[in-house]
């Protein structure tokens, strides 16, 4: 890693002004489990001048519940979410997503905000500078995407955004999307559906450079509801998802009244399965309706030469996640 200036922020306001006043590029650090990897490999065209530490800001690491729902501070670790009895009881999809993220060691340091703001894992994008020079591909502002003509076995099965076919790697993102969360920042409140924006430069979110996530709010629907999360990865203990899926449904009289289903690891941004959601409304959730939803989820898939295996995988994970929601 090359050197940078490291500043402990005492408050959210101070962190924002440190970002604004930095003479060169500045990043915030939460757990650091993604950021330090990017810095060690010197991935970016501009190396940061300053790193602003959020962990010295009091009050950002608590979980609480009120009539609006679940309030998760930006610095809450994935371990804390996975082990929270309240989250496990009412938002099992989120608890399971946190529990299946990375490894226990990384969950001990990795935060929820860091998890949804993390960089993509395309192996060309992540190619370390120290081994023959980093790759400045389209996503970084360069000319070419190396994955399209190269090895794209883990890349998008739903086409490219601005010529990039890297997938969003986050495990908690689909859970937060299924649960219709809201992201509170230092500037505004962003509905989770508008939070991810791969293709607008290196970063994966719509955050401004001087904007910090402070809290995530997960609502608590009034009706009878269920939610679930599943992940398929090579190893159970530690691996990014080949595909993952979260679903949240409400029911009345045994019929689905609302559905939110999200796949990740299949496209640049987490992908809502809107056709599958619409098909479930007004019907009971059973093997036949789940099957139909699974098929609709991949109806528009356009796999590349090497990643066709992800299509049946995505279909199956939608079906299985929905069946986990059957009451």
């Amino acid at each position: 890693m090359k050197s940078f200036k490291h500043i402990d922020a005492a408050s959210v306001e101070e962190a924002v002004s440190l970002l604004q006043e930095s003479e060169g590029p500045a990043y915030v650090i939460a757990g650091g489990s993604d950021l330090l990897g990017c810095l060690k490999d010197n991935l970016w065209m501009e190396y940061p001048k300053a790193i602003v530490n959020l962990k010295t800001i009091p009050g950002l690491d608590t979980i609480s519940v009120d009539e609006d729902g679940l309030h998760i501070g930006a610095l809450v670790t994935l371990t804390k979410i996975a082990e929270s009895e309240t989250v496990k009881e009412f938002w099992p999809g989120l608890a399971e997503a946190a529990r299946r993220t990375a490894s226990p060691l990384l969950r001990n340091i990795g935060t929820i905000a860091g998890n949804i703001c993390q960089e993509n894992r395309c192996w060309y994008y992540r190619y370390p500078d120290k081994i023959g020079g980093r790759i400045d591909c389209v996503r970084k502002g360069g000319k070419r995407c190396l994955a399209v003509p190269g090895d794209h076995r883990y890349h998008s099965i739903f086409g490219a955004v601005n010529k990039c076919i890297a997938v969003n790697p986050s495990d908690t993102a689909p859970a937060l999307i299924a649960l219709d969360a809201t992201i509170k920042t230092t500037k505004r409140t962003i509905p989770i559906d508008e939070f991810f924006s791969a293709g607008m430069g290196a970063q994966s979110t719509t955050l401004d450079r001087d904007e910090i996530v402070t809290e995530i709010l997960v609502p608590r629907p009034a009706q009878e509801w269920t939610n679930a999360f599943r992940k398929i990865a090579f190893r159970k203990s530690i691996d990014f998802a080949l595909v993952n899926c979260a679903a949240a449904l409400t029911f009345a009289d045994g019929k689905v009244t609302s559905a939110r289903i999200c796949l990740n690891g299949v496209h640049n941004n987490p992908r809502r399965c809107v056709e599958s959601e619409a098909a479930l409304i007004g019907k009971p959730l059973n093997e036949a309706t789940a099957q139909e939803a699974g098929e609709l989820a991949v109806a528009e898939a356009k796999p590349l030469l090497q990643n066709g295996f992800k299509v049946p995988m995505a279909k199956t994970i939608v079906i299985d996640t929905l069946m986990d929601c059957v009451k």
């Binding site: 050197s3 940078f4 200036k5 650091g32 330090l36 990897g37 990375a102 001990n108 530690i238």
Partner: protein, 167 residues
């Protein structure tokens, strides 16, 4: 401010109960500082990207990959490394269990495995096999000695519960 003043800082690190002053650069990881500046080479650095667990230490009793945290952020925290386990020439029960159950083959992953085990047993004194497997999920053993490692954790849990009961 000179360039140097901006990027280095004198910090006080508490390692295995001993506090010491250290001049660190902002970008130095804890594993680098433990190994190169404190002589605690029991903390291994294998992948250096948070994926193998060989650099695991406890920070305020929480198992942490030392290669993925900055040393400069650890002031005021209690860092425990493999070197801190044995006391007065007496092995820690987890280390004893490792010897008795053949927890080590080449031994390179052992310090990290043992620190993860300590972190687990602090939270959960009597873990099930599934809980052991989940807790050690971030520690890789390239000899694939997992059966023996799990036996060692079970045995360590028993030893420590017995010790607790005798106090």
């Amino acid at each position: 401010m000179t360039q140097n003043e901006k990027l280095t800082k004198l910090i006080q690190l508490t390692i295995n109960g001993e506090s010491r002053p250290l001049l660190v650069e902002a970008h130095w990881t804890l594993s680098k500082v433990l190994r190169n500046d404190c002589g605690h080479t029991g903390t291994k650095e294998a992948c250096n990207e948070g994926a193998c667990g060989s650099c695991t230490v406890l920070i305020d009793d929480i198992a942490t990959p030392a290669c993925m945290v900055l040393a400069i952020e650890q002031e005021g925290k209690n860092i425990e490394t493999i070197e801190g386990l044995s006391k007065d020439g007496q092995l820690h029960p987890i280390q004893e269990a490792w010897l008795e159950e053949y927890g080590a083959q080449c031994g390179f992953c052992s310090p990290g495995m043992i620190m993860s085990t300590k972190g687990l047993l602090i939270k959960n004194a009597n873990p099930t096999d599934d809980e052991i497997k989940e807790a050690l999920g971030g520690n890789l053993c390239i000899c694939s000695n997992y059966e023996h490692i799990i036996n060692a954790v079970r045995s360590a849990a028993r030893k420590m519960s017995k010790e607790q009961a005798n106090v």
